[in-house]
């Protein structure tokens, strides 16, 4: 472990990313759009009365918080891992006395700061216009903390191990696109969990994708009971541990397979 180097790296990456803030603001805006579309669709659908216990205002609140948590948990870094392997960029990180995952983590942390610089004010502005309804409590906020941290960890490590398959196959990033599609379907983007048909609810409950994005929002907005929250956290933790184990396993094998291309 080399935390001193990791911290220096985070500062540096942040400096470098802030140089391209325009690009990242546009990216953040792009991610926001589909969720805004669904916000308006479901708000319109609920204009005559609550659906599955969700009112127009609480749906708006759900989606606004989802916009933020989605950006907090979205692991942009994983999209570059494959290219770094394919084009041999990872070589320079392997030469350093520090695990290359620090480079991914530093980009993650630096990225979140840059994205939040854009997304927090925009979401706050939208909240002033749409006037959503939040049922927030300290208890929910307290449960939200582990849920959001695990959601980020799960989404990051799950994408990371998929991206590391680039050691063997050249376009592993198509698996990341699949992960995103499943998050869109099962992770509360297309519709909140409560509005999904029963079959999809079961899938969402078992598979990791809901726990990467919608689960913390459901916890924060009080859609889940204590029992459901605890079960959810346990499943989320289980998937996260599995993702980390898979990452370690793929990494140690991939690195042996690495051909250090170029130069």
């Amino acid at each position: 472990m080399n935390h001193r180097g990791g911290w220096a790296l985070i500062q540096n990456t942040w400096q470098s990313w802030i140089q391209h803030r325009g690009f990242f603001f546009l990216l953040a805006f792009g991610w926001m759009l589909p969720l805004l579309v669904y916000l308006f669709i479901w708000s319109a659908a609920a204009s005559d009365g609550a659906i599955a216990g969700l009112t127009q205002e609480s749906l708006a609140g759900y989606y606004l918080i989802l916009i933020l948590t989605n950006q907090l948990t979205y692991a942009t870094t994983n999209w570059t891992v494959g290219d770094n392997i394919r084009y041999g960029q990872i070589s320079r990180w392997l030469l350093q006395p520090m695990s290359p995952i620090y480079h991914a983590l530093s980009q993650e942390i630096a990225g979140k700061v840059v994205f939040m610089l854009f997304s927090v004010p925009i979401t706050a502005l939208l909240a002033l216009i749409i006037r959503p309804q939040f049922n927030l409590s300290w208890g929910q906020a307290l449960q939200f903390l582990p849920a959001i941290v695990l959601a980020w960890g799960l989404r990051f490590f799950w994408g990371y191990w998929l991206a590391l398959l680039a050691f063997w196959v050249t376009r592993a990033d198509s698996l990341l696109a699949l992960q995103d599609s499943l998050i869109f379907l099962l992770g509360g983007h297309l519709a909140p969990f409560a509005l999904l048909p029963p079959g999809m609810q079961t899938l969402a409950r078992l598979l990791p994708f809901r726990y990467m994005s919608a689960f913390p929002v459901e916890v924060l907005t009080g859609q889940l009971g204590v029992q459901e929250t605890l079960t959810g956290l346990a499943i989320q933790l289980g998937w996260t541990v599995l993702a980390i184990v898979l990452y370690r396993w793929v990494w140690t094998r991939g690195i042996r397979h690495y051909e250090a291309v170029g130069g």
Binding site: G5, S16, L95, Q96, P97, A260, G262
Partner: protein, 332 residues
């Protein structure tokens, strides 16, 4: 006699490369039934390097030079064989080992292109845990010897190739590694910049007793820096020793340049008396003869006594010509 710092025994690397014929049909077929072939990149090479040595690793493109360096720096697992560098097995990539080596690649950047080099240096000093005083001292030394004050605050992407190479060297040296692997450090640089880098490397090696293995296609790098060369061809080490000896072994000839004070009419017939002596095309009005080393005294003596010689010079053939010959023929 100190222990060798680098010990390489029977190191071998075979790449498994997917292969397919060009065209859409072939690409579909290769999808269903991929075809691989084993390409040996490095075959059974063994050598040792003493602390403080500068060794030139030479050979044509694709000979296995970079693959060897990549194994020694821990980037590649060998297919078989063993290497011990400073007491470590490189491909285990222990942090303590990585702190003692540096690999500078002429075609690969270790710097973040968006920010000024000084920021990258600071991060590297943290990653390599260089104490602040020591960092300032070595940085001042490197910046002064490489004369690069003006570059430090510009983003790396705005630097020229030569300027960037200076920064790459600083990045590779600021934690004072004991062993330096230089892969084509002068690639693409102009002649003046190449010479400066050579002078710098020589001085740095003497002042810090750093062990250097260098690959280069510029023989000037090798002649200026490396008393010892290792020649790799088709993955095998075919020569390991002094550069001069290599030249002598490869080119058992000397070049005799002649200038006459009066026209010589039957020069061709005169040369024909020695079947082993070959006349090369004239250069700047000078006659050039390629003479076997053993015959040089006798030939020059006869030339001097029989012909109106104004000037006579005996030279070794240029090293490029010698190397070119092995690269083409692949034998010593």
């Amino acid at each position: 006699m100190p222990e060798p710092i680098i010990q390489v025994k029977h190191l071998t690397k075979v790449y498994r490369v997917p292969e397919r014929a060009p065209g859409l049909g072939a690409s579909v077929r290769s999808l269903l039934k991929p075809h691989y072939s084993d390409i040996p990149a490095v075959t059974d090479i063994s050598f040792t390097v003493e602390p403080g040595e500068i060794v030139g690793l030479i050979g044509p493109n694709g000979a296995g030079k970079t693959t060897t360096l990549k194994m020694l720096s821990g980037l590649l697992y060998p297919t078989s064989g063993d290497a011990q560098v400073a007491g470590y097995t490189p491909w285990q990539r222990q942090p303590d080992y990585l702190r003692r080596i540096s690999m500078v690649m002429g075609n690969r950047s270790a710097l973040n292109w968006d920010i000024p080099p000084l920021d990258s240096f600071r991060v590297l000093s943290q990653i390599y845990r260089v104490p602040p005083d020591q960092y300032r001292q070595i940085l001042d030394e490197l910046i002064a010897t490489l004369d690069m004050d003006a570059l430090l605050k510009k983003p790396v992407r705005n630097l020229s190739l030569g300027e960037r190479m200076k920064c790459e060297l600083v990045a590779g040296l600021l934690y004072q590694p004991d062993i330096l692997f230089l892969d084509e450090p002068t690639l693409g640089l102009d002649v003046a910049m190449q010479r400066r880098l050579r002078t710098f490397l020589k001085t740095f090696n003497q002042q810090h007793t750093v062990t250097v293995i260098l690959t280069s296609h510029y023989m000037a790098d090798v002649t200026a820096l490396c008393p010892r060369v290792m020649l790799i061809h088709h993955g095998s080490l075919i020569y390991d020793g002094a550069l001069q000896t290599l030249a002598a072994r490869l080119a058992p000839f000397k070049l005799v340049r002649l200038q006459f004070s009066a026209p010589v009419e039957n020069f061709d017939d005169f040369v024909a008396q020695w079947p082993a002596v070959e006349q090369l095309p004239m250069e700047n009005g000078l006659r050039i003869l390629r003479v076997p080393r053993a015959d040089v005294p006798q030939v020059t003596a006869r030339l001097l006594e029989s012909l109106p010689v104004a000037d006579l010079a005996v030279e070794d053939p240029p090293i490029e010509a010698v190397i070119d010959q092995i690269y083409a023929e692949g034998v010593l």
